[in-house]
Symmetry: C2
Amino acid sequence: MLTESGTTRLFTSDAPLTMSNGATLGPVDVAWERYGELAPDRSNVVFICHALTGDAHAAGLREGDTKPGWWDSIIGPGKPIDTDRFHVICANLLGGCRGTTGPASVDPATGESYGLTFPEIHVADYVNVHRALMKEFGIERLAAVVGGSMGGMQALHWGLRHPEELRSIAVIAASSRLTAQNIAFSAVARAAIMRDPGFHDGRYLELGDQPSMGLSIARMMAHITYLSEEGMAEKFGRRFQEGDAKHGFGVDFAVESYLEYQGRTFLNRFDALTYLYLTRSMDYFDPFADADAAHMMAELQIPALVVSFDSDWRFDTGHSRRIVRELEQARVPVSFREISCPWGHDSFLLSDPDYHATVRAFLQGVQYV
Amino acid sequence: MLTESGTTRLFTSDAPLTMSNGATLGPVDVAWERYGELAPDRSNVVFICHALTGDAHAAGLREGDTKPGWWDSIIGPGKPIDTDRFHVICANLLGGCRGTTGPASVDPATGESYGLTFPEIHVADYVNVHRALMKEFGIERLAAVVGGSMGGMQALHWGLRHPEELRSIAVIAASSRLTAQNIAFSAVARAAIMRDPGFHDGRYLELGDQPSMGLSIARMMAHITYLSEEGMAEKFGRRFQEGDAKHGFGVDFAVESYLEYQGRTFLNRFDALTYLYLTRSMDYFDPFADADAAHMMAELQIPALVVSFDSDWRFDTGHSRRIVRELEQARVPVSFREISCPWGHDSFLLSDPDYHATVRAFLQGVQYV
């Protein structure tokens, strides 16, 4: 199903990206994948924004892989984001560690990785890089921008600030403004990473080290917030990993084994600096602080789908309701659905029938020709 | 108000404590405090069981202290646990690090701290040491055993297993069986401690080191679970610590400053090994796994007060309802109250009027003479 993949240099040292905080950055390379046929008039493009730990590999099984892309459940031939109809593009976001330039990349000015000298990233910067990629591909207007969790924040920002570049947005399990508790979880995760002696003030790559402990602790804690309490009870309960209690302080309960595995495998595919930069960008995201934020989207009557899950306690339905209120107040056409699904925040990655039917119907209704 | 405080040796190397897992331990010293007058017939004693990070200093202001004991809000002259009427005793529990023998104590067999050679502790062991202390004090029957959170587990265990030694129990914001999510949070906290290079496989005391990073991360994460999301929003919201956003990865939001402070100050008063042992004892606590657990308490018709707080998501009301169901099924007289209070699990330490009135009324009704 994968049509094409690649890495494209969008900005150079001579023609750098200007970031939200005024800093410039170049070169900027972006890793991307494309699925399905592009219509001759290029009108059938759906852009997928990924979440905190995602990457460009959203769908399909690549040669040598044992698992398909992270959103293969919803993207593919005949699936809700239907590659028989849409040309689907996903890119690793700015600051990422999966092919796109990020703090672990080499700074040409020093010959060493950026580390903490990488400029602060805002959600606007992810979107500006995605926009530059679309320009590079000659795509003037997207049929839809779709994202879950932090991906939903990007879809929302894109819709609010650049509505002329798209025809619809789908904002799933996302937030327009983190709560104190949301920030608190990320703050503890960052503290675990930065206080790890392996962090070396962000210079661990040159030193051949890694804040493995901090990053795995961050990931384990995050996984607790991705699953609902009831989902965890259903999945693990108080079961022991090996039949009987072993006692001691090692892995004994099945839920401990799950977290330990998640923490360990994360180290092979993710970078600690990326974790810092991306979580921090969410803390500061607050598009409706500008009371007039949605007026351009309203003028163009760009429809938005907003989806939440009733068991999601990372970004509970209150977060989605707030987005809906802000958009409706500005007269943006909004379709809102709270899906009943027991799997917490992770539900957006799963195949709940109501959820999938909702996304399918919304995209079928998008006027893009 | 403090009547007396001290440390008592309850077990020795020659006459050791036999623990739940069969291990023996001696000497065992216990730090305690007493408030209010003991009635001549010793019938007016209320024993207070403390929670994970508490100690024997439950009430009153000791010389040189700037803050009163951890439950001073509820214990004192004229307060719900009324020292004009009751003789109140609190002791640091077994495994603690506040005067009572624990894994940081010196093992006489080696001359070094126990570390991870300290035997596994069950809730039954805390209670057995408290019972030995009461025996030492010549107190045959308690008017009440009262505890919040892990203290409530001890009160429950004492009531179920040794109902002849008491006349009532009050089990506040507690659980009779942790959920997968509860265990998960503790598992991540323990991983942070044990993976800290300063942990040295539990031998950090001899080496003059400490797993400071892991212990502070554990504490910060725990604090998120002690406050409700709404309580955190009310207390901190998205306020910045210094008026304006500073950006970067340091403390910027007020909630970050709060967590950082909690994590840092905890290091001065708590031991990482104690954190491991005490959290693990909660994971395995499951008294009603024995279907007949409450029959002795029912036979003696020992009344139980069970209190939960509607905003508590560490041990939500479902945990308390389960305790109530189990006790009622066995025909134990139970009074259950869910208190509406926005401050999450921490509510049990605060002065909500309904909560205090409930505890006061229950203790006033206890027949102890």
